[in-house]
Amino acid sequence: MSEQLIIAGKSYHSRLLVGTGKYKDFTETRAAIDASGAQIVTVAIRRTNIGQTAGAPSLLEYLPPEEFTYLPNTAGCYSADDAVRTLRLARELLDGHKLVKLEVLGDPKTLYPNVIETISAAKVLVKEGFDVMVYTSDDPIIAKQLEDIGCCAVMPLASLIGSGMGILNPWNLQIIIENAKIPVLVDAGVGCAGDAAIAMELGCDGVLMNTAIAAARDPIMMAGAMKKAIEAGRESYLAGRMPKKLYSASPSSPSAGLITAA
């Protein structure tokens, strides 16, 4: 397919963005990401190990930043200040890299986003020149406000992070998509390939997922399934589905020319 996903002026042929957490080891991480075809991968920023494990291999050796577009996140941040501080460090870590995923959480049990803090962090980050892809609730008003602030993509949840509960409110997602002039990606909640396809059929520009692949019984096979689901969902959206004709069947075979009893 020639049509591309464009985020902050850069085009990507893959509309599947993947996380790099929760895998058995870096070899599995790499194999799953290769199978997914993803070009954008999220990473977390954490205190480095000081001491015995200082010589241990790092994620960057398995996913060279030259090969993938890194999307450093602010997972685990519960305030705008912490999120901004984390992404400033990420920019330094990745040599001035500007594309980031902002998420500010509001509750450790549900990991539900705190949209007030998210908006406040987004304002600072946009002003400082970051290209902000922002994780948020599926509230259409908040999504629009984040766009107006200058975020480069808005990423509403399908359901709670890591829950695999699928798309709980397709109607809200549809409102967000209809209102947005920037890419809308579903981030969080996708559990299986069917969920990913539905997100794309709704008209999402892409899907970001981690646990749905990493926690599958066979993560590498699931990564391949997700790749196909994203492509199938996108093509189904572009092709335009037939209208639903409730309680009104229409035969696919001709009604004329039937043999009749003599």
Binding site: R47, I50, G51, L59, Y70, L89, L93
Partner: protein, 67 residues
């Protein structure tokens, strides 16, 4: 001198210590890391010049798997 690194206070014999020298001591040389000293980011290009002082608070971070 005492320096807090990622929340743990460490004692160093050295009177003078640059960030580069500290990284060598901690076996972190060559790793892709970002460092914050007393709340301000120290650009990697300045690691060899910035002198650490008793009581400095450092955060040393890297990229790890995450979603």
């Amino acid at each position: 001198m005492k320096i807090s690194i990622n929340g743990n206070v460490k004692q160093f014999e050295n009177e003078k210590l640059t960030i580069s020298a500290l990284m060598l001591t901690l076996n972190l040389t060559g790793k892709r890391l970002a460092i914050e000293k007393n709340g301000a980011i120290v650009p990697r290009s300045q690691f060899s010049e910035v002198q650490l002082q008793d009581g400095d608070v450092l955060e040393i971070v890297g990229a790890v798997g995450g979603g």
